[in-house]
Amino acid sequence: MSGPEELTCRELVDLVTDYLDHRLALGRHVQVEQHLVLCTGCQRHLSQMHGTLRVLRAVPDDELQPETLGVLMEAFHDWRDAGEAT
């Protein structure tokens, strides 16, 4: 079994996206976690990635203008009334 000392921090940083997506082979995935257990630097890097994802999730979407909604509902009526709806 390869030990945590075989994974460097630089390597972990390159793997972090795949780690978060559960895309790493099991052995690699566990290597990442065993490295995290003993590495403050990588713990913080992972925490920063989690924080980044939270910020991205919180980025507000723009609301569509009411005019756009109006245009779309009108288009829907036109589409429906043209007999396209079944």
Partner: protein, 224 residues
């Protein structure tokens, strides 16, 4: 009628079927609920391809028209959301290309683009004795002490938005669909027509860039 986030893939497919059938019947409320659910995110995605918000709204409108015109052909092989965003991405790319918004050398820039990576100088040089080569030379800062109101506050969200806008197009596409719109890796590959391998690399670089920008922002104002 509101669109709830489905709890399982099977529930998602059932919900999709219900909505598609309602649209085909001409159910106005179903269409309105779809626009409410996806519209704001669609606008954000479109905004990444075209010069103005007004044009982005047009792209979104055109997308919904395309959805209506194609709804009879939707077979449910992908999720409804994926299908809608695929149409959106195609329209937005077309519109963006006709605006010449994409920098002509963007693909070359991307190939050489390294600034999403953690600065190599942050790691101990492997040549300086083998013991700790590749390990952190100094710890990154902890974000755990940043209060939630600040991390997710207006300042940081604005900085994140700018960072997204500044990404190379292919990285921005993947990041917005994955991390802002919340599509799965497979959905993003389908919507963008990219391979899984590409999607992973683009996402990694894009997230790395945004992280660096946020880190810099937190660092600058930390003394306050």
């Amino acid at each position: 009628m509101d669109i709830a986030t489905p709890s399982t893939p099977a529930a998602g497919r059932a919900e999709d079927r219900r909505l598609v059938e309602a649209l085909r019947r001409g159910d106005e409320a179903a269409f309105a609920s779809l626009i409410r659910a996806y519209g704001p995110t669609m606008l954000r995605v479109a905004r990444g391809y075209v010069a103005t918000r007004a044009v982005a709204e047009e792209v979104v409108q055109e997308t919904w028209l395309g959805v209506l015109r194609g709804i009879d052909r939707f077979e449910g092989r992908s999720s409804l959301k994926t299908w809608v965003f695929r149409i959106l991405v195609n329209r937005a790319r077309t519109r963006g290309a006709s605006e010449h918004r994409s920098m002509p050398f963007s693909s070359l820039v991307e190939a050489a683009d390294e600034d999403g990576r953690v600065d190599p100088a942050a790691f101990i040089d492997a040549s300086a004795g083998a013991t700790w080569g590749g390990w952190w030379a100094a710890y990154p800062k902890s974000w755990d002490t940043v209060p939630e109101e600040r991390l997710l506050g207006r300042e940081m969200l604005a900085v994140a938005s700018e960072a997204i806008e500044a990404l190379p197009e292919r990285q921005r596409e993947v990041l917005v669909l994955r991390d802002v719109a919340g599509l799965s890796p497979q959905e993003v590959c389908t919507a963008l027509g990219v391979t899984d391998g590409n999607q992973r690399v683009l996402l990694h670089r894009a997230r790395g860039k945004v992280r660096r920008v946020l880190e810099a922002q937190l660092g600058e104002t930390e003394a306050a």
